[in-house]
């Protein structure tokens, strides 16, 4: 190859990639976290938001499921190179990878959910999970006949403790004597994928007299809800509305509107109003909440609903401040 053909080839390549970049510009991308696209939970919620964007705008987006931690940086870089923006990554596990890659693409917008990455082209969306968990805690305590309720986080991790702590606080606000058992499925991220063990942990709680169990275990949570339903007791879903999974045995679900966060980010980019920085979604912003629908209508008494509405109003107005576990790494109740 002579020098001139070589340079032509390079020039051609550059031109081609420029065209590709142009074509894909402003199309958003979504890269799911370990639990997978249809985890009936966190990732699926992001997918729902993206689908809503697609349906409403007629635009398109690209998405990808990773199969291992090693792919994180590579996946973000690939989408960024192809010109997608914003690139949304749901889940705290993405923080390190994004911290590394985002500065390499200053003209691309990134969104991370559940973690804060302080860079000029990154929007970090965090939720006040403790507020939504407080509400389902109230429901659990009012539903329980044994005076014992449970929470099953995937493993001992700050973010999951934030849910558990809010839940405990909510439960104790209506019944100070209630006993809340907390049992972890495993000791690391693999616990999110082990529904069999999650079911066993739940049975262990049920055996001890628990009659309402709140799952904070992503994909493994299906095992928690299954075990509760098998025993004729109540489970509480998380992130997405999971009431439909076992109608009559899922008391409610702690909604975390990842779909809203995803939809908003995509729309902002489309409208040219994308802003970096930290966005916090709580009850006041309708970013979290307890799910009420036809599947749990028979389980919720008017008093329970009234108690939740009352607490919601007080939290939104700031009259009740639910403790954030992340602030001091401790739970007061």
């Amino acid at each position: 190859m002579t020098f001139s053909t070589f340079t032509k080839a390079i020039a051609g390549g550059v031109a081609l990639s420029a065209i590709l970049t142009g074509a894909a510009l402003a199309d958003p991308a979504l890269i799911y976290d370990g639990g997978g696209k249809f985890d009936k939970s966190f990732n699926e919620s992001a997918y729902t938001g993206a689908e809503k964007y697609k349906a409403e705008t007629g635009g398109s987006y690209s998405d990808l499921e990773i199969t291992g931690d090693a792919q994180r940086e590579q996946a973000i870089r690939q989408f960024a190179t192809k010109g997608f923006s914003p690139i949304l990554v749901p889940g705290f596990s993405w923080a390190t990878a994004l911290q590394t890659v985002a500065p390499e693409f200053p003209d691309t917008n990134f969104v991370i959910i559940d973690s804060v990455v302080d860079l000029p082209n990154v929007r970090s969306v965090v939720f006040k999970e403790q507020e939504g968990s407080y509400l389902v805690g109230i429901l659990a305590a009012m539903k329980s006949e044994t005076g014992k309720i449970g929470v099953v986080p995937a493993f001992n991790f700050e973010l999951l403790e934030k849910f558990a702590c809010g839940y405990k606080e909510g439960a104790k606000s209506v019944n100070p004597d209630i006993e809340v058992l907390e049992t972890y499925v495993g000791a690391g991220f693999e616990a999110f994928n082990d529904p069999a063990k999650a079911a066993e942990v739940t049975r262990s709680q049920l055996d001890q007299g628990v009659d309402v169990v709140f799952q904070v275990a992503g994909g493994a949570g299906a095992g928690v809800l299954q075990a509760a339903a098998d025993a004729g007791k109540f489970g509480i879903g998380v992130d997405s509305n999971q009431n439909y999974l076992h109608p009559g045995n899922v008391l409610t679900s702690m909604l975390k509107r990842v779909d809203v966060a995803t939809y908003n980010a995509f729309m902002d980019e489309k409208n040219g109003t994308f802003t970096p920085g930290v966005v916090t979604l709580g009850l006041a912003e309708a970013g979290v909440g307890a799910a009420f629908d036809e599947f749990n209508a028979d389980l919720i008494t008017p008093e329970m609903k009234a108690a939740v509405e009352d607490a919601s109003a007080k939290i939104a107005s700031g009259e009740i401040v639910v403790h954030d576990f992340m602030s001091d790494k401790a739970c007061p109740v």
């Binding site: 997978g36 990732n43 058992l181 907390e182 994928n193 529904p195 069999a196 066993e200 942990v201 299906a222």
Partner: protein, 323 residues
Amino acid sequence: MGYYTDLILILDSTVRLAIPLILACLAGLYSERAGIVDIGLEGKLLGSAFGAAATAAVTGSAWMGLFAGVGVALGMSAIHGIASINLKGNQTISGVALNFLAAGLTTFLGQSWFHRGGFTPQLSGDQRFGPITLPFAPELANVPVIGGLYSELISGHNILAYVAFIAVPVTAWVLFSTRFGLRLRAVGENPKALDTAGISVTLLRYQALIITAVLVGIGGTYLSIAQSAGFNNNMSAGRGYIALAALIFAKWKPWPALATCLLFGFLDALQFRLQGVQFPYIGEVPVQAIQVLPYLLTIILLAGFIGRAVAPKASGIPYTKER
């Protein structure tokens, strides 16, 4: 609730946690005794869990699920057999390949068939193996001591769990009291001697692999349609590897294998129960300390009490008739 009831409930949980381990461990025992290392147990568990859940979801029958689960394991064993018996390939590599194949293929097929990101639909009713109440269990439930033991611990498991427990004495009998068992042990120790006696090493090793597949297939089926209600990505979660460790622990013997798997199950069940418990004098122990217990005890037992574990001599070595 009294300590006795607590103990029964923990043991009950132990049994449920140990079932897939027992089945996978016995499966590994047959193949390793015949001289074939089966790292692929993990993948077979996963593959058969998927096959069982997918078939049960489509046909609505748990039994069809079981057939499919065992079928998948047989297919995977056939690949392992061709690679390591006929082609004399490296057994560890073939096994690892099976693990990767299972992890990728289950997710891929699950996604293209059910469009739920690798999950199969939630199963219910006849699509799962439900608990079996043994005769007189409800009547005996209130009898002190024995009642709880019988109605909680012995009764109320599903059919696959009972199969796992029956498989242990059957394995012990086959291995140590039958001609087939003698040959199986011989082929793992000294295949040359067997070959000289006019017995086909290839045939014996395939027979062992078939038994392995049936057992691990039942184990995978238990995981997805008895213990859980559906398949999800990587749901075997390392149980195949733990079973292999248990096999070494048990020195390739069936009864010790049962004991080891029950021990692993018990430590897990105990660990769940001890989380967040207030101990007398000590108070609440940090959860990390509780969670490390099973691993810690395993190391202590392995280092201190088990002694040297010697694998079947010809294990992992493909048999070549002439050089």
